[in-house]
Homo-oligomer: 157 residues x 2
């Protein structure tokens, strides 16, 4: 595991991070869909051509999972992350096709201490993933919990 | 593919559906995490014991993906589903451990025609997944698009 570079105090509203790229193969798209989302447009070329997507495309959950892989490898592993309580506003504006090159960008939207844990802070982050044409394929907001470098002083303690 | 039993007109606010169970093995949890969410508490017993989760547990994205599998196999394949534009309010209140038996329940929260497509309607659904102890491990709300049995009459057409 990488050494911790970023604690909660290191995040500021407006910070934008480029978290690299990931590119799913046709085989990976079909494998994920076979296991978790066996709808015809994720499995079969002819069914996909006849669908609203126009071609074989990745499960939205596969797209989210690929974004998470970039988030962990290129960011969370260098932070004091303690996980996430949840996410809001997941949208898949465009389908992901085999061979697409997907780039993840995150923006810090909000940062606040965690009331009941003086050693932990929270951040709200925008996740945006774009394909090689600059089209947005994933959009969501997630809360993250991070250990603080210096715990807050607790009043009346 | 199964025959279509349910079109948009067949969904009513308050309908509750039990969509069966799924149970991840330790190997499946580690395999998913290795590919998409390689954080120590999803991969390594000792690291997981030292974490807030208390033991090796599934990636939240794995939990979502397992819920999707139940949704597709036990519901969407029997419907006129056209996919989903997105989800809201994803929460993972409790961790998922190897061997947990996870049951998905859905509730129709809202149903409305799709303004710009007279042949399509939308529903908003609550997804709740419970473990074998009755604890909620996943909670989210998703919009679904479904073809209508009878397209709406378009005025001024």
């Amino acid at each position: 595991m990488a050494e911790i570079q970023f604690y909660w105090e290191d995040f500021e509203v407006g910070q934008v991070r480029d978290l690299g790229t990931i590119s799913p193969t046709r085989e990976e798209i079909i494998q994920f869909a076979s296991q978790f989302d066996p709808q015809p447009f994720h499995l079969d070329d002819d069914a996909a051509k006849a669908s609203v997507f126009g071609g074989l495309c990745a499960s939205g959950w596969h797209t989210c999972s690929m974004a998470m892989r970039l988030m962990v490898t290129h960011f969370l592993q260098q932070t004091s992350s303690l996980g996430s309580p949840g996410l809001e506003h997941i949208k898949w504006p465009k389908p992901v096709f085999p061979g697409d090159v997907l780039r993840l960008q995150t923006t810090v939207l909000e940062t606040k201490p965690m009331g009941r844990r003086p050693d932990v802070g929270m951040t709200r982050n925008l996740w945006e993933m774009f394909n090689q044409h600059g089209e947005k394929v994933l959009l969501m907001e997630g809360w993250g919990m991070f250990r603080r470098r210096h715990p807050a002083k607790v009043e009346n303690a």
